[in-house]
C-alpha cells in the first residue's frame, strides 16, 4: 500500500554556495549564502522559514568542531539565519546521512508542525591531508586497526571493493566507464569543481593509486561549501515560482548489522535493499520508473552497490551495466547526472538530492533528461547506514 502522504510535500527551492578547495569566507557564511539562495529560489522571505534541519557532521572523524567554521549546526542557523522570529521546529540528526535530516523535515510538514523547512548540508575542508591519522595513541576500536597501518576510510572501501571484484570478476578498467561518465556530466554543471576539466579512459587508468584497487579518481573531491533546499506542503508549493519536486517516498537502512571495524560487501544487497524497498513500497514505483538515479559515490564502488541493491541490475552485474553508455545522459538509466561527489564535489550526498530535484522539475539545464518524471537519490553506501528520497514531477 502506498504512503498516505505521497506527494503531499515538495522541494520548492534550491540554493548553493560556491564550491571550492579553499573558500574566501567561513563555512557559516557559505551556509547562509546557500540558505538565502534557496529561499530566493523558492520566492519566500527568510522570516517565513519556520522549521530547520541538518546533518551537521564533520567531514571526517577527528576534524574540528567549531560551529560556523568546521560545521554548521542548527544553533548557528538560529543565531545567524534571520529566520522566522519563533521557529516552530528544528532538528539535527547524527545517523543516516542528509536524507535522514530531509525526512525529518518531510515528517514535520506532514504533521502540520510548520510551513517552510530549510534543509542544508555544509562541508568544511580542513587544511592538511584529508582524514590523515596523526596520533601515536590508538584507543577504542582503532587500537585494533591504526597500529597495523589501517586508519583511513579509503582503506575500508578498498578492502570491500577488492572483494567485490574478486567475487564478480570486475576489473579496474570497468570502473572507468562510470567515473568518466560522471566527469562528462560535471562538464555540463557549472557548479561542479571539475566543470572545466575533462577526463578520458587513459586519464582514469593512469590515475595515482591511493589504496589498490582505489585510485585518486575513485575518491570524491573534498570541497567546502553548502547546498540548501526549501521544503513545503504541496498546496503551498503550487503557488510558488518553480515547479515542485514532490516527495513520493523515502527510506532508511535500519537492519541490524554486524559490528565491524572494517567494511565488507557481504550484506550490501540486504542492507541497501531494505532502504530501497521502503521507497518502492511507499511510492508504488519501481526501478523501471526512474528517469535518473543519483547514487552515492563518496567512493566510486558505492555506486555499483547501489545499482544492484536498488534493483537497477542484478547482483554482481553493475560493472557490466555501466558499460556501453547505459548510464549516460542518453542511456537507459542516467546516473549521477550532475557529476556525483566524484566530480561535482564532496557535499556528502546533498548534491545527489539537489540534482534529483532539478531533474524532475526540468531545471537541470544542458544535462536535463527528457521526460524525467521520477528521480531517486540514495546516499551513503549500502554497506553502511544510508537513506534515500524519491522525487516525482507529479504528486
Amino acid at each position: 500500500m502506498t504512503w498516505d502522504s505521497r506527494g503531499k510535500t515538495a522541494v520548492v527551492g534550491i540554493g548553493t554556495s560556491k564550491l571550492s578547495r579553499k573558500a574566501d569566507k567561513p563555512l557559516g557564511l557559505l551556509a547562509l549564502d546557500a540558505a538565502r539562495a534557496a529561499m530566493e529560489d523558492a520566492g519566500i522571505a527568510p522570516g517565513e522559514v519556520d522549521g530547520i534541519v541538518t546533518y551537521p557532521d564533520q567531514p571526517f572523524l577527528g576534524a574540528g568542531n567549531r560551529d560556523g567554521e568546521d560545521l554548521v549546526t542548527v544553533n548557528f542557523l538560529i543565531d545567524h539565519g534571520g529566520l522566522a522570529k519563533d521557529l516552530k521546529w528544528y532538528s539535527q540528526i547524527s545517523s543516516g546521512m542528509i536524507p535522514s535530516a530531509f525526512i525529518e523535515g518531510v515528517n514535520a510538514l506532514v504533521a502540520g508542525t510548520c510551513n517552510y523547512v530549510l534543509v542544508w548540508r555544509a562541508m568544511h575542508l580542513p587544511a592538511g591531508t584529508y582524514g590523515a591519522w596523526r596520533s601515536n595513541r590508538a584507543g577504542g576500536d582503532t587500537q585494533f586497526t591504526a597500529p597495523f597501518g589501517a586508519a583511513n576510510p579509503f582503506q575500508w572501501h578498498a578492502l570491500a571493493y577488492q572483494r567485490y571484484m574478486h567475487r564478480y570478476g570486475a576489473k579496474r578498467e570497468h570502473m572507468a566507464a562510470l567515473v568518466t561518465n560522471s566527469r562528462r556530466n560535471a562538464n555540463l554543471n557549472e557548479q561542479a569543481y571539475f566543470y572545466s576539466q575533462p577526463m578520458g579512459f587513459e586519464d582514469y587508468m593512469n590515475a595515482r593509486m591511493v589504496s589498490d584497487p582505489l585510485s585518486l579518481f575513485d575518491c570524491d573531491i573534498p570541497v567546502e561549501g553548502c547546498t540548501a533546499l526549501i521544503l513545503t506542503t504541496a498546496d503551498r508549493a503550487r503557488d510558488l515560482k518553480h515547479p515542485p519536486a514532490y516527495i513520493a517516498g523515502y527510506g532508511q537502512q535500519a537492519l541490524k548489522r554486524p559490528s565491524l571495524t572494517t567494511y565488507t560487501v557481504d550484506d550490501y544487497m540486504a542492507c541497501g535493499g531494505s532502504t530501497v524497498d521502503k521507497i518502492w513500497s511507499m511510492s508504488g514505483l519501481g526501478p523501471k520508473d526512474i528517469g535518473a538515479a543519483q547514487l552515492y559515490d563518496g567512493f566510486s564502488p558505492s555506486t555499483y552497490y547501489w545499482l544492484e541493491a536498488a534493483g537497477f541490475c542484478g547482483e554482481g552485474e553493475a560493472w557490466q551495466f555501466v558499460q556501453d553508455g547505459r548510464v549516460a545522459l542518453t542511456g537507459e538509466l542516467p546516473v549521477n547526472t550532475f557529476g556525483g561527489s566524484l566530480s561535482e564535489g564532496r557535499l556528502h550526498g546533498m548534491g545527489h538530492l539537489a540534482e534529483a530535484v532539478r531533474q524532475v522539475t526540468g531545471r537541470a539545464g544542458q544535462r536535463q533528461i527528457e521526460g524525467c518524471d521520477a528521480s531517486i537519490a540514495l546516499d551513503g553506501s549500502p554497506m553502511l547506514r544510508n537513506a534515500g528520497i524519491l522525487f516525482t514531477s507529479e504528486p
Binding site: N136, G149, V210, S211
Partner: protein, 138 residues
C-alpha cells in the same frame, strides 16, 4: 621528509586489556559470549549477537584466510610514512564467518589472493605491545 612520526600504539582500556595481555604472552584470545558462543571483535560490553553482558576471552587457533587486502600507497598514517607501499590484510579467522582481524604485510601485495590461508606471527612494537600479525602461506 622530516622526522618520522611514532607509530600508533594501542591504548588499552578495561575492555581490551585482556587481548593485549594475551598477545604479550604470544597467545591470540578473542572475546566470546558465554551465553551464545558468538565471537566479538573488537571486544564489546554487550554481545553483538545476543546482547548478553557475559563475555570472556578464549584462545583461538590463529588459523584463517585472506578475506580481502588493499595496497596502501598514501603516507597519511603516522608512523607508516616510510613503509608505503604496504598491504593491509583482512584476515577471517576459521572460528566464525566475518571474524576479521586487520594485519600488515610489507610490499605491494604481489602474490596475495583472497581465500589464501594465513599463519600468525608476533610483532613486538613500542612499550611492550605485541601485535598479532598474519601472512599468507603458499
Amino acid at each position: 621528509m622530516a622526522d618520522l612520526s611514532p607509530r600508533p600504539v594501542p591504548a588499552p582500556d578495561e575492555l581490551t586489556q585482556p587481548f593485549w595481555d594475551a598477545t604479550a604472552a604470544h597467545r591470540l584470545e578473542i572475546q566470546r559470549c558465554t551465553a551464545c558462543g558468538y565471537y566479538n571483535h573488537p571486544p564489546k560490553r554487550l554481545c553483538d549477537q545476543c546482547t548478553s553482558p557475559d563475555l570472556g576471552f578464549v584462545p583461538v587457533s590463529g588459523r584463517g584466510q585472506v578475506y580481502s587486502y588493499t595496497v596502501m600507497r598514501q603516507t597519511s598514517i603516522a608512523g607508516f610514512e616510510d613503509k608505503v607501499p604496504y598491504t593491509t590484510l583482512l584476515v577471517e579467522l576459521e572460528e566464525q564467518p566475518q571474524l576479521l582481524l586487520v594485519s600488515t604485510v610489507p610490499g605491494d601485495g604481489a602474490g596475495i589472493a583472497i581465500g589464501q590461508s594465513t599463519e600468525l606471527w608476533w610483532e613486538p612494537i613500542e612499550e611492550g605491545f605485541v601485535l598479532p600479525q598474519f601472512r599468507p602461506i603458499a
